[in-house]
Subunit: 418 residues, 2 copies
C-alpha cells in the first residue's frame, strides 16, 4: 500500500468541487462542496449518536438506507441543527437541488452541514449556486482541494489522504477528506469525513470495513455518545477498479465461492490506514492545539478496558494542559485512568513519555521513579508526544489520540458565533 | 436557620488551627491544618470513587469505619497519592503523630492531603511541627481561618460557612470549610470539606444526612467516578448542643420513641444548605473562572435524567467557553444535553439565560427564537449566570454548578508542579 495524492479524486470515476455561496457571511471562503461519482456506488455511513441530530444527518440516514449513493453535497457555516421542520425541508431541498442538477434521485444524495447550531439554513443560496457547484467539479487534486476548503470551519490544516493497493493484481484506490478541529473532548466540533474508493465491494462488506476502521480511529478521538449534532462519515465505492467483487465473512460463511476473504482483509487494512491517518491529523489540528498527543495502553485485561483507559487519559483536561506546559505530571495520567471506570491495578501500572527526543519512564508500579525533569521537559516539548501506559493484566492494547489544551482553545470557542 | 461566622469553630467544643511546616517549599503559606473536638464525636465521611486512592484516603476510610472521630489533620502541597507502601506508612505516621499529641487513638484521627501526586510526603516535617500545630488551635474565627488557609492550594477564595438553627428549642450549629478549585469537570482538583456540628446525632443518621446533602451539592459539581485521588468530605458531631439525640428514619421504623423525625429533617435541611453553599463557592472559584454558572433543569421525566442533563451542560467545555465569551450559543447547550445519555425530547426543550441583568429565552421547542443578541450578551456578561432548561416530560428537576473556561485555567494547569 502506498500513499498517493488527489484525496477523494484519486480513485477512478470521482469528481469533486467547491464554491462560495455566501452561507459564511463574514468570510470569502468557499462554503459549499460536492463529491460526485459518474457511476452508481455502494455506500456506507456512520452518524452521530447525539440525541440531537442535525436535519442533514436525518435526511442522509434515510437516503443511505438503500446502501447506494452517487453524490455528497455539504455546506459549512451553518449546521442546520435545532432548526425544526424548516430545517428538515431545507436539507431535503439541498438534496433535491443536487439531484436535479444531475438528473438522479435525491435518495442517491448524502447531505452534510457544519457550522453554528440553531440558525436557519439559507438553502436558497445553495439552490442558487448548485449549477456553479456542478461546474466546479474536477477529477483532480484541484477538485479535491476545492471541496476540502469548502467544508472547513475552524480547521487550520487541510486533512486529506489517498492510498493505492492491489486486490488480485488490480490496483485499487481509497481517497478521503475530513474536517473537524474540535478539542474533540469533551465535546468535539463537528467531524465530517468523506471517503471514496474505486473498489468493487458489496454494501454490507463496505459497511463492515467502515465500522471496523471507525472503531479503531475516529472513535478513539470521539467517544460514542459524546459527538456533535452533525458528525458523519460517508464512504462511496463505485467499483471502477475492476477488482473481483469484495464481499465479507458473513457471505463466505454462507458458502459463497465468489470471494476470497483475503481481499476483504486487504481492503479493511487500507480503510484502517486511511481513517487512522485522518484521526491523527484531526487530533493534531485540535482547536488551539500545538501538540498531537497519542496515548498507548498495553497489557490491559481486555480491549474494552484498554480503550476506556486510553480515551480517559487522552480527554483529561489536566493531562492536556500538562502536555501544553510540557509538565511531566504523570499523576494526572493515573488519576484519569482511575476514573475511567475500567478495571486495572494502579500498583502494577507504568507510565513513560516519548517523542522524537527520546523516551523517559516516569512511573513504575504506580509510583514515581527518579527521572530527569529537564529530559522529560525536552521530550514533552515536542509537537508529537506519546504517553505510554503499561499494565500487567493481559495482552489487550489500544490507542487514543488527542491534543493539548491551550489558551487558543478558549479564544476560539469563547465567541465562536461572532 | 441563620448564617453565622466562625466556620468549623462556630459549633461548641471545636478548635482549629494551622501552621507552616514546609511541605510547600516555594511559598510561605501555611500547609498543615488541624480540627479538634474536646469531646468524642459521631463521624461520617464520603471519599473519592477514583480507583487510584491517596494513602490518606485509605487510612481515613479505615479509621472512619467505627463512625467516631475526634481530630482531623490535613496537609496541602503534597497529595501523598501514588506513593505506594511508603505513602501508606507516611499517612499512618501522620495520624499517629496527631493522636500522640492528644493522647488519643490514631483510629480517632482522619488524615487528608492535597497537592501534587506521586511525590513522597515529607512526613517528618509534619511530625516535627505537630506540637506547634496543637498550640495553634483556637476555638474562634482565627483558628478557623488558619486551618482554612493551610488546606488551600490553587484556591483564590476562602470557602467557609456556619449556620445556627434550633432543634427542640436548643440552638444547634454546623460549621464547615472547604478547599477545591478545580475546573471541577472533567477532572476536578482535590476537594476537601471538613464539617463540624455540636448536634447530638447518631452516626447512621449523620451518615445519611451527609449522603443526602452531598448528592444534591458536591456531586452536582463533581460527578461520581470523576473525582480526584484525594477527595474527602468529613463531618464530626460532638453533641455539645445538648439537643435530643437525632436518629434517622430507619430507627423510627424500628419503633424507637426517642426521636422525632422532624429533628432529623431539620438537621438535613441545614446540612443541605451548608453543602450547597460550599458547592457554589467552589464552582465560583474554579481555576481561572470568572463566572459562576448554574444549570437548572425542570420538567424532566425523572430525577436521574434531570441530573444527567444538568451535569452534562455544566461540564461542557464548549458551553463553559461560551459563558466566558458571553456568547448566547444555546446550540451547545442542546448538544451537551444530546450526549448526556439521558432521555428527553429535543423538540420540547426550552432554554433561557438569566442573571442579575434579567432573563432571556433563546430556544423554544428545540428551535431558536428571535432574541436580542445585545441583551443576551449583557445577561451573560454578569458574574453569576443561570442556564434554565425546561423540558416537558414530567416534574423532576435538578441543578448543577460550574464555571466558565478561561485562558487562566490553561495557565494554572499548564505547569502546576513548577
Amino acid at each position: 500500500m502506498t500513499e498517493i495524492t488527489g484525496g477523494v479524486c484519486a480513485p477512478k470515476g470521482f469528481m469533486a468541487g467547491g464554491v462560495r455561496c455566501g452561507i459564511k457571511p463574514s468570510s470569502q471562503k468557499k462554503d459549499l462542496a460536492m463529491i460526485f461519482s459518474r457511476n452508481p456506488c455502494s455506500a456506507a455511513a456512520m452518524f452521530t449518536k447525539n440525541k440531537v441530530k442535525a436535519a442533514s444527518v436525518q435526511v442522509s440516514q434515510e437516503n443511505l438506507a438503500e446502501g447506494s449513493l452517487r453524490l455528497i453535497i455539504a455546506n459549512s457555516g451553518n449546521a442546520n441543527a435545532c432548526t425544526g421542520q424548516e430545517g428538515m425541508s431545507a436539507a431535503k431541498r439541498m438534496a433535491q437541488a443536487a439531484a436535479d442538477a444531475f438528473l438522479i434521485r435525491p435518495s442517491e444524495v448524502a447531505v452534510a452541514s457544519t457550522g453554528v447550531i440553531g440558525v436557519k439554513l439559507p438553502v436558497e443560496l445553495i439552490e442558487k449556486n448548485v449549477q456553479a457547484l456542478k461546474s466546479s467539479l474536477k477529477d483532480d487534486a484541484q477538485g479535491n482541494a476545492d471541496a476540502l476548503e469548502a467544508i472547513m470551519t475552524t480547521d487550520t490544516r487541510k486533512k486529506e489522504i489517498a492510498v493505492e493497493f492491489d486486490i488480485g493484481k488490480k490496483p485499487v484506490r481509497i481517497g478521503a477528506i475530513t474536517k473537524g478541529s474540535g478539542m474533540i473532548h469533551p465535546n468535539m466540533a463537528t467531524m465530517l469525513t468523506f471517503i471514496t474508493t474505486d473498489a468493487a465491494i458489496i454494501p454490507s462488506a463496505l459497511d463492515l470495513s467502515l465500522r471496523r476502521a471507525v472503531k479503531k480511529s475516529f472513535n478513539c478521538l470521539t467517544v460514542d455518545g459524546d459527538t456533535s449534532t452533525n458528525d458523519m462519515v460517508v464512504v462511496m465505492a463505485n467499483g471502477e477498479a475492476g477488482n473481483k467483487l469484495i464481499m465479507n465473512e458473513t457471505l463466505v460463511n454462507e458458502g459463497s465461492t465468489a470471494i476470497t476473504d483475503e481481499d476483504f482483509e486487504t481492503f479493511c487494512a487500507a480503510m484502517d490506514h486511511v481513517c487512522i491517518a485522518l484521526t491523527k491529523m484531526m487530533a493534531r489540528d485540535g482547536e488551539g492545539a500545538t501538540k498531537l498527543v497519542t496515548v498507548n495502553v498495553t497489557g490491559a485485561s481486555c480491549e474494552e478496558a484498554a480503550e476506556k483507559l486510553s480515551k480517559s487519559v487522552a480527554k483529561s483536561s489536566l493531562v492536556k494542559a500538562a502536555c501544553f506546559g510540557a509538565d511531566a505530571n504523570w499523576g494526572r495520567v493515573l488519576c484519569a485512568m482511575g476514573y475511567s471506570q475500567a478495571e486495572f491495578n494502579p500498583l502494577r501500572t507504568g507510565v513513560s513519555f516519548k517523542s522524537g527526543k527520546g523516551e523517559i519512564e516516569v512511573c513504575k508500579e504506580g509510583q514515581t521513579v527518579n527521572f530527569c525533569e529537564e529530559k522529560a521537559k525536552e521530550i514533552l516539548s515536542q509537537e508529537e508526544i506519546e504517553i505510554l501506559i503499561t499494565l500487567d493484566e493481559g495482552n489487550a492494547k489500544a490507542s487514543a489520540w488527542g491534543c493539548d489544551l491551550t489558551y487558543d482553545y478558549v479564544k476560539i470557542n469563547g465567541d465562536y458565533r461572532s
